[in-house]
Structure formats: structure tokens, C-alpha cells
């Protein structure tokens, strides 16, 4: 269970070793549903005052336990209090308004929808359980060069970017700080990649990116690669998910044949 206590949009899941299993709710809707079900409340007619009290009580409890209370929980607390106050105030009756809008309506809709998907998640869990009881033959060990064309997997842009990210992150910060003219352009790096591919049938993505240790050059090389992919001059493939990514030259277009 990943406690949804993150505040940054780009937070990643904590590494498995650091996950702490707590009776913590995934989010405010999860907590509200729990309170509603525990108290056998009719979800279509929520006693907002009581539920607000219980909700805030739970947040307080989380704080006592020194759990990080996610911002989303606070937003919901504000929503609940706002609904509560709207229900206390007499609604100004306007001539045009035939239907009185229940201030709880929107929240109830959200809860109903969330509950639907929560049930769907349960059925997925059930599917997962069943599917894990059956075994199929695992993928064969890597095919040899001869068969590669057939067996290689397409590498999605996402995979490529995360592979690039990993390389950049794993590179130690440059120790030298030479100030040099930025002489690399996407065009030059594209030519460089194509040159390499003239000599070898394929080149390893990792080696290509690392061929120059400067981050700026890495980025330009990466952009050049993306550009070559876009114009279908090269293709990136891998033998298995998360395996080494290889760059292949695609069939040369007629006007390129003589170069």
C-alpha cells in the first residue's frame, strides 16, 4: 500500500523496502466511504454534520499518530465544512429556481462514482488472484541475431525517455568544467548516429548516449535520436521488457543510397 501522502505531482512510489503498512486510507473519498459503511449510513442521504465531525476526528487521529496528512484530506475537510455551512444557512429563494439544489449532491455523486470503481478494483483483484494460479510458458531465452527481426519488441517513447533519465541520473556530476563552445547540433549528432550505423548493424542506446560524457551532448544526442526515429531513419528495439535498447538503421531512402 502506498500511502497517498505525497504532495509533489511527480512523487514516485517509495521503494518496496520502505513501505509501511498502516490502516491508512488511500484518500479522502476512501475514508468517507469507510465512515459511511461503518456507520451504516445511507450514502444518498449523508448526515453531513455528523460525518464532518467523524472525518475531522480521524484527521486529528492521524496527526496524533504523526502520520503525514496529505493535502487532499485537507481539501475534503474544507469541502465538508463548506457543505455543512450551506446546509445551515437558509437558501435564498429565487423566483426562477424551481429545483432546490442539495449542497451534498456533488459530493454524493463523487462518492458513488468512486465506490463503483472501488468495486471494479475488487473484481480486478479477484481476476488477478485467478490469473496468478495459472502458468504459461515463459519467454524463450534470447533469440540469436538471425531471428532478431521477428522477435524484437518495439520500444515506446516512454521507455526510451525513462532509459535516458536513468543514464543521466547515473552519470556522476561532471568533474571538469571546461568552458567550450557548444559545437553540437541535432544535425551533427544525427549524422554521427547514422555513421555509427554504417559500421555496425545496431548500436546500444546506453553506449550511444554515453559516448560523450557531457550532459548537454547527451541531450542533443537523445534529441537527434528522437528526430531520426520520427523520420523513420532508425528504429529502436529491445529483446525483452526493460532489456538493453538497441538502435537499428532502417531501410535507406533512395536519395541516401550513394552516401
Amino acid at each position: 500500500m502506498i500511502p497517498s501522502t505525497s504532495t509533489s505531482l511527480y512523487d514516485t512510489a517509495p521503494p518496496p523496502g520502505y513501505q509501511v503498512k498502516l490502516p491508512l486510507f488511500e484518500g479522502p473519498l476512501d475514508l468517507l466511504l469507510f465512515l459511511i459503511q461503518r456507520d451504516q449510513i445511507d450514502i444518498h442521504d449523508i448526515p453531513i454534520s455528523r460525518i464532518t465531525e467523524e472525518y475531522l476526528g480521524y484527521l486529528q487521529f492521524m496527526r496524533v499518530l504523526q502520520l503525514d496528512v496529505a493535502a487532499e484530506f485537507m481539501v475534503m475537510a474544507a469541502t465538508l465544512m463548506s457543505i455543512k455551512s450551506q446546509m445551515l444557512l437558509p437558501q435564498p429563494v429565487q423566483a426562477g429556481d424551481l429545483l432546490e439544489v442539495d449542497p451534498r449532491q456533488e459530493l454524493i455523486q463523487r462518492l458513488l462514482e468512486y465506490r463503483l470503481y472501488k468495486t471494479a478494483a475488487q473484481s480486478l483483484l479477484e481476476c488477478e488472484h485467478h490469473a496468478r494460479q495459472i502458468y504459461t510458458r515463459p519467454g524463450e531465452t534470447l533469440p540469436d541475431e538471425a531471428e532478431e527481426e521477428e522477435e524484437l519488441l518495439d520500444v515506446s517513447l516512454f521507455e526510451l525517455i525513462s532509459a535516458f533519465e536513468q543514464i543521466i541520473e547515473s552519470e556522476p556530476e561532471g568533474t571538469t568544467h571546461d568552458v567550450v563552445l557548444e559545437e553540437y547540433t541535432v544535425k551533427q549528432r544525427s549524422d554521427y548516429i547514422l555513421d555509427l550505423l554504417n559500421n555496425d548493424k545496431k548500436i546500444a542506446f546506453r553506449e550511444l548516449i554515453r559516448s560523450d560524457a557531457r550532459t548537454t551532448v547527451m541531450v542533443v544526442t537523445f534529441l537527434a535520436l528522437l528526430e531520426l526515429m520520427r523520420v523513420h531513419r532508425v528504429a529502436v528495439r529491445q529483446k525483452q521488457a526493460f532489456g538493453e535498447i538497441w538502435i537499428y538503421r532502417l531501410a535507406i531512402s533512395p536519395d541516401e543510397e550513394h552516401s
Binding site: 500500500m1 502506498i2 497517498s4 505525497s6 504532495t7 509533489s8 505531482l9 511527480y10 512523487d11 514516485t12 512510489a13 518496496p16 490502516p23 486510507f25 488511500e26 484518500g27 479522502p28 473519498l29 476512501d30 466511504l33 459503511q37 451504516q40 449510513i41 445511507d42 496529505a70 487532499e72 475534503m76 463523487r110 462514482e113 468512486y114 465506490r115 463503483l116 470503481y117 472501488k118 468495486t119 471494479a120 478494483a121 475488487q122 473484481s123 480486478l124 483483484l125 479477484e126 481476476c127 488477478e128 485467478h130 490469473a131 496468478r132 494460479q133 495459472i134 502458468y135 504459461t136 510458458r137 515463459p138 519467454g139 524463450e140 515506446s156 517513447l157 516512454f158 521488457a241 526493460f242
Partner: protein, 221 residues
């Protein structure tokens, strides 16, 4: 004479399914077997399945991710599990399952829509699911910021043992499932697991009514 030809075709299909490490679609089988029409192939597959069931074979033929595949029967899971101990994948977390459920029913869908349904931020979960290839980017929504649209993959179907996405219970089925378990006295638990209140025995019903939703389970009985 005809019997002999049919059983030879059964052997061919069996060999193909045995040798393949991924589901083979009906059309792919049709091409590979050659010299057989769709009706004939359907008969051959049915015959093969019947043979597996009849003779208490430890493997079965399932329809999964839009194809046919040979797999072991659930009752032998505990042994095979031991064999594959090192390559067993981690089960999905609750947030991951909820996120997948929303995407499965609403795809293609943008991240903010998923977040507003779940009421929480899902950046980390999305990243994990993309890495596990259960999700894919389907393009961009024609809206301000051109946000990415997410959808499920064949690997999603394979992971959950589904043949096609419509094998999932419909919204109506989910709703009636919830209604059948609206709060009544025996549903209240005291160990703080809200999920169990709406699941429990209900999911048993779901799997049987869902029919082909669990090919692995359905033929195991």
C-alpha cells in the same frame, strides 16, 4: 479418414500452442495451420480442449488477451509457483488496482480525470503501471495543455487473465453488486478494512456471472 485428418490438425494446433510463449490469435492459427477453414479450426480447438478435459490433462487451453494459450491448471499452481519462485511478479497495490479499474472503464482518460475520481494524486502509481506495461499512452487529448491519454494494454488483459476488455463486469453489474451489499447489519467489520465490506462473498457471484472473465477459473472445476 476425416477423423484422422482432424486429429492431425489437433496435433498441429497443439504443437503451435505448446511452442508459443504468447497467446496466438485465431487468425494467426488459421494462417499457421493452413488448409483449414474457420469453422474447422473452431472444431479443432474445441476437440483439443475436450481432449484435455476428458483425460485429466494438467494443462488447459485458455482464451486470453485475444488469443489462445496453453497454461497449467490452477490446481497445480502450488508446484509451478515453486518452480518460478524467482520470477514471480509483485502483486498490484490497492491504489494501482483502483487506478487501473478507472482507466479500464473510462479509457482513454487523462490523468486529472483519474485523480478527481480517486481524490488523490496518482503520479507514482501511473509511473509504476506504465513501467509494468499495464498501461500505455494513447495519445493526447485535444484540450488545453494537450494532456496525455492513458489506456490499458494487452499485457493488462494477460495479467488479469482476460480475453478482451469487455470481459470485465459491466457498470450495471457492478452497481447491482453494490446494491446487493448496501449496509446491512452483518456487513460491518471492526478491523477497519472498508473494501472487504463491499467485496467478500459478492465477488464469488461476480466471477460466475461474469462468465468468461476468468478463463483460468472457469474450467478448473
Amino acid at each position: 479418414m476425416t477423423d484422422r485428418i482432424i486429429s492431425e490438425n489437433e496435433c498441429i494446433v497443439e504443437a503451435l500452442l505448446f511452442a508459443s510463449d504468447h497467446p496466438l490469435s485465431f487468425n494467426k492459427l488459421l494462417t499457421l495451420v493452413g488448409n483449414i477453414d474457420p469453422a474447422g479450426l473452431r472444431d479443432v480447438i474445441a476437440g483439443l480442449r475436450q481432449r484435455y478435459d476428458q483425460y485429466g490433462h494438467s494443462v488447459q487451453i485458455i482464451e486470453i488477451a485475444g488469443g489462445y494459450q496453453i497454461c497449467t491448471r490452477p490446481r497445480y499452481a502450488r508446484w509451478v509457483k515453486e518452480l518460478y519462485r524467482n520470477r514471480t511478479t509483485v502483486r498490484l497495490s490497492k491504489p494501482a488496482l483502483e487506478t487501473l479499474a478507472i482507466i479500464a472503464y473510462r479509457q482513454p482518460i487523462v490523468r486529472t480525470d483519474i485523480e478527481s475520481i480517486r481524490g488523490v494524486n496518482i503520479g507514482g502509481v501511473l509511473k509504476t503501471l506504465l513501467q509494468r506495461n499495464l498501461l500505455t499512452i494513447r495519445g493526447r487529448k485535444k484540450a488545453p495543455g494537450r494532456p496525455l491519454l492513458y489506456g490499458t494494454t494487452d499485457e493488462f488483459l494477460r495479467y488479469f487473465g482476460l480475453n478482451k476488455i469487455t470481459d470485465l463486469p459491466t457498470r450495471e453489474e457492478l452497481k447491482s453488486l453494490i446494491e446487493a451489499h448496501e449496509p446491512t447489519e452483518e456487513l460491518v467489520t471492526d478491523h477497519g478494512h472498508p473494501v472487504e465490506q463491499i467485496s467478500g462473498p459478492a465477488l464469488g457471484d461476480l466471477t460466475t456471472s461474469g462468465g468468461s472473465a476468468h478463463p483460468g477459473g472457469s474450467s478448473s472445476g
